[in-house]
């Protein structure tokens, strides 16, 4: 008798970025950081802490991953120094929707 195949096949997802695609495309406004206004202090990091998607870097000067930033504007709202402003548009290079 042939040996039984006891291998179990389970559908398991594997982790990867961009599960829902480039979520930066959802954005209507884009956060822009004024690095001179930013305190650049470890003691702040409020934007990093409050970003639901965790797309703000933790190292200074802070950087926002615009490929995935959904543009909710929490960072601009919560920044105690008003160093982040939301500017109109997706601000990504080669965006076909940004008509010229």
């Amino acid at each position: 008798m042939a040996e039984k195949n006891r291998e179990t096949v389970v559908a398991v997802s594997k982790p990867a970025a961009g599960e829902a695609g480039r979520t930066g495309d959802w954005r209507s406004h884009t956060p822009r950081i004024d690095h001179e206004k930013c305190s650049q202090q470890e003691s702040c990091l409020l934007c990093w802490m409050y970003c639901p998607d965790g797309v703000i870097s933790r190292e200074f000067p802070l950087e926002i991953d615009v490929e995935y930033c959904k543009g909710c504007g929490i960072c601009a709202e919560e920044c105690p120094r008003k160093a982040i402003t939301m500017v109109q548009g997706r601000q990504s290079q080669g965006d076909p929707d940004e008509g010229h």
């Binding site: 559908a11 398991v12 997802s13 594997k14 982790p15 990867a16 970025a17 961009g18 599960e19 829902a20 695609g21 480039r22 979520t23 959802w26 954005r27 470890e42 003691s43 702040c44 990091l45 409020l46 990093w48 802490m49 409050y50 970003c51 639901p52 998607d53 965790g54 797309v55 933790r58 991953d65 490929e67 995935y68 959904k70 543009g71 909710c72 504007g73 929490i74 601009a76 709202e77 919560e78 939301m86």
Partner: protein, 304 residues
């Protein structure tokens, strides 16, 4: 030791960017900091049909670096119990089993399996992220929706009943740890999840997760809305360790220093309350005040 500043939170992220959750999702922020508090290499998450399933992605990709078991809507407590039993049977030690369910999957549909798991004293943590409705399926009414809120199943008169006091039901099981938290206070949330992780037995944390599309407020105001809920005592932050009650974070400060805002302040910023009447606001205020004074009294008694 309480975490005092953002810099003390772990740097590593366990949710990769580009998730399916809405912009400014209260759940997403909750989950992000909860995973930082857990040890994701040694954590198994049980998730029912909910916004959380959506966040966890569509096969074969997931943005979350944690083992997750998807279970039926009503079965979160049972599924988590099964995982705990399975780990024990196979001799795998050191894992934390955490169930993450919404208010629909906790207050309504999942209440029997949760109660069963708590009664058995299952060694697991249950986190209910309460966004006050069935947000994933289109903002239907749940027993966690507040009175006066318009939902897609209460479109004309708005909801007439007050929110169910689920925490009292959970507390009645006399489990070692019950707490409430909010993504607007990530440090408090982080501390509570970390504390719960170290406790043996059933642990329950309820997180008040504001939902901009469901509640009708601008995305950017997510944090402010959660803080306002604490300032108006609509959502009170506390923890009960072995029956000992203690207010924490913003709610503790509110009890000590006063300055409680009115429910009218909270209601006016959300379009779900567009049909609320003066009488309903009054009733909501009385409901909130009654709870708040009860909590203050328990806080005093807990200390003495």
């Amino acid at each position: 030791m309480a975490t005092k500043a953002a810099k003390e939170l772990p740097k590593e992220e366990f949710i990769l960017p580009g998730t399916r959750s809405c912009a400014a999702c209260g759940l997403m922020l909750t989950y992000r900091h909860s995973l930082k508090a857990l040890d994701p290499g040694k954590t198994i998450v049980a998730v029912p049909a909910s916004c959380m399933t959506v966040l966890h992605g569509v096969y074969p990709i997931t943005p979350v670096k944690v083992i997750c078991v998807n279970n039926p809507f009503a079965a979160t407590g049972a599924a988590a119990s099964g995982i705990v039993a399975g780990l024990k049977a196979t001799g795998k030690a050191g894992y934390t089993v955490v169930a993450f369910a919404g208010d629909g999957g906790t207050y309504d549909i999942g209440i029997q399996s949760l109660s069963g798991a708590l009664e058995r004293g299952t060694d697991f943590m249950y986190v209910c992220y309460d966004n006050e409705g069935y947000m994933n399926t289109g903002t239907q009414r749940s027993s966690a929706s507040p009175a006066g809120a318009v939902t897609t199943t209460t479109p004309i008169l708005a909801k007439l009943q007050h929110k169910k006091d689920m925490l009292r039901i959970v507390e009645a099981h006399r489990i070692p740890y019950v707490a409430t938290a909010s993504p607007s206070f990530p440090l408090d949330l982080y501390d509570k999840v970390r504390k719960a992780k170290e406790i043996k037995g059933s642990r329950y944390i309820e997180v008040h997760a504001p939902c901009p599309p469901g509640w009708g407020f601008p995305n950017k105001d997510l944090i402010k809305m959660g803080k306002l809920a604490a300032d108006t005592a609509v959502h009170v932050l506390y923890e009960i360790v072995d029956g000992k009650f203690r207010l924490t974070s913003r709610s503790l400060r509110l009890a000590e220093k006063g300055g409680k805002k009115t429910v009218a302040d909270y209601v006016k910023g959300q379009t779900r309350f567009k049909k609320i009447t003066e009488g309903q606001i009054q009733a909501l205020q009385e409901f909130t005040d009654r709870r708040w004074y009860e909590f203050m009294e328990r806080h005093q008694n807990g200390r003495s």
